[in-house]
Amino acid sequence: MATLEIRDLHVTVATDDGAKEILKGVDLTVKSGETHAIMGPNGSGKSTLAYSIAGHPKYTVSSGSVTLDGLNVLDMKVDERARAGLFLAMQYPVEVPGVSVANFLRTAKTALDGEAPKLRTWVKEVNTAMEKMSMDTAFAQRNVNEGFSGGEKKRNEIMQLELLNPKFAVLDETDSGLDIDALKVVADGVNRFRAQGDRGVLLITHYTRILRYIKPDFVHVFVNGRVAEEGGPALAEQLEAEGYDKYVKAATA
């Protein structure tokens, strides 16, 4: 049983006009086995939350804490967070020219395990992970995300999620830009990950569409840099019907 705990998290980003506060006191607890949906309008700070947990250098934590089983995540470097069990599926996965998917995955797996994977079983594992995401195994020889379509990039992210199998996954708008078939493939992958029973998921999304395929245990409405409302799956249905207007108005009032 593991716990990812975020307490009163304040995060700023540098702008031409000085530091701008994006997260204004986020409180959130995700336990293993739970799926939390974070829903909110554009610009509410959802992605900032995702990147801050992962440790992107662009974001500065001004106060608050993020702990994983009591360990201070904010003290860890980006790679140490991954090795501690965190994973971020990015909204815009980055192209890495000249680095093949196979090489990248093997390097990541080696770093996470502290030893190189056994070649024979590893190739099989990679191929299986790709097939599950309806990816041609030829993808392994292509450069990371280079020339991938939007849908291929997202499938590549979830393929890594299954293969690297972290304790907690933060999925940053993994559903955006996907057609319904690709969305199902991606949702199936996330559901297989959840089905292990002891994995935590923080599912960040703008739309309720993906929640038809991935059923959250908790829904948090994220507005203006903090959680404005919390509830069960029914809250998502209410948001689908009513939108974010009343929360946005309340936050700016």
Binding site: M90, V94, G98, F104, A108, L112, L164
Partner: protein, 396 residues
Amino acid sequence: MTDTLPAQAVQDAVETVASHLHPVGSFDLADHPVPTGREEIWRFTPLKRLRGVHQDAPLDGDLVSVKVQAADGVTVATVGADNPLKGTSGYVPYERVSTRAWHAADKSLTVTVPQDTEVADSTIVTVTGTGTETATAGHAVIVAEPNSKATVVLQFEGSATFVDNVEVVVGDGAQLTVVSVQDWADDAVHHTHHHTQVGRDARFRHVAVSFGGDLVRMNTTVEYAGPGGEVELLGLYFADAGQHLEHRLFVDHNAPKTKSNVDYKGALQGKGAHSVWIGDVLIRKAAEGIETYESNRNLVLTDGCQADSVPNLEIETGEIVGAGHASTTGRFDDEQLFYLESRGVPEREARRLVVHGFFRDLIRRIGVPELEERLMAAVEAELEATVGLVPAGAAQ
């Protein structure tokens, strides 16, 4: 990233640069006064480190040994300076060092690929320096006769002060790859000029690889002997602390329907590492229907490095298919590093992967498998030197 110029239509890419793009050549040393360092073609070069070869230092040393591994079907010979092949590329030196080298070289190495002969294996010429005390002059001619196909690799190793000219003649319809690997010891100084004449419908690929040496200054020039010739000029360099690696290219589109593609990539690390890339392309009035693109990308790995990158395009006709250039010099891409690190890859390893990737695509285009492996290993060895010692904040 600085100084990024995307490929662009020729109409808005016109830069009129004074005639230094095509300086008038001369074999007469009197036409080439000792440079002061203020001349356009010398302004990036630390003259003091040239050991006087740009002045009047003797060039009569014999401090290199040459080893030849000729592929079946290729003839390699050492002949006198009066051999009829010398000068057949149309080369006329346009600065003092190369002019001096031209006159000082008392021998020529000739590499001949006979007409209609296709050779799969590479012909490898290894030049090993045995001392830097006296400068040594060299001359070579590589001739790919019409409709032949071959690869010639020049390898430079050891310690030397070496000045040379390499002439290349690619016959009509021939396909030739020339690779020049400057893998000198740390104290070598190498000034060289490679000039190529590309025949009608011929294909020429030139690959410059510079890793070693205190100072390497390489001029690579290309002209066409007829329409339809295609040229690819690839380059890869890795400048370490104190190293000066200079590559100067000039493609003279003097014939219609010719093509050129220039792609140079370099990495720099350590205090005083200096790279210079000059990419000159001239499209003459006669050169209708040509296509040219040139690119230089530099990856700066540590503080204290300098990468100079100057693309020049001079266009005398607008009746062309396309012309463009790009030049970028940048630090590590933080987003790439973040992506790799977010999967658990430590920063040092992430940097290694990114540099590896930066060069990999270019190396794979060389088309000489055994060399590709060696070059990846050489990149690896260079990286061992300092990547990872860079503080985390240095990339921002």
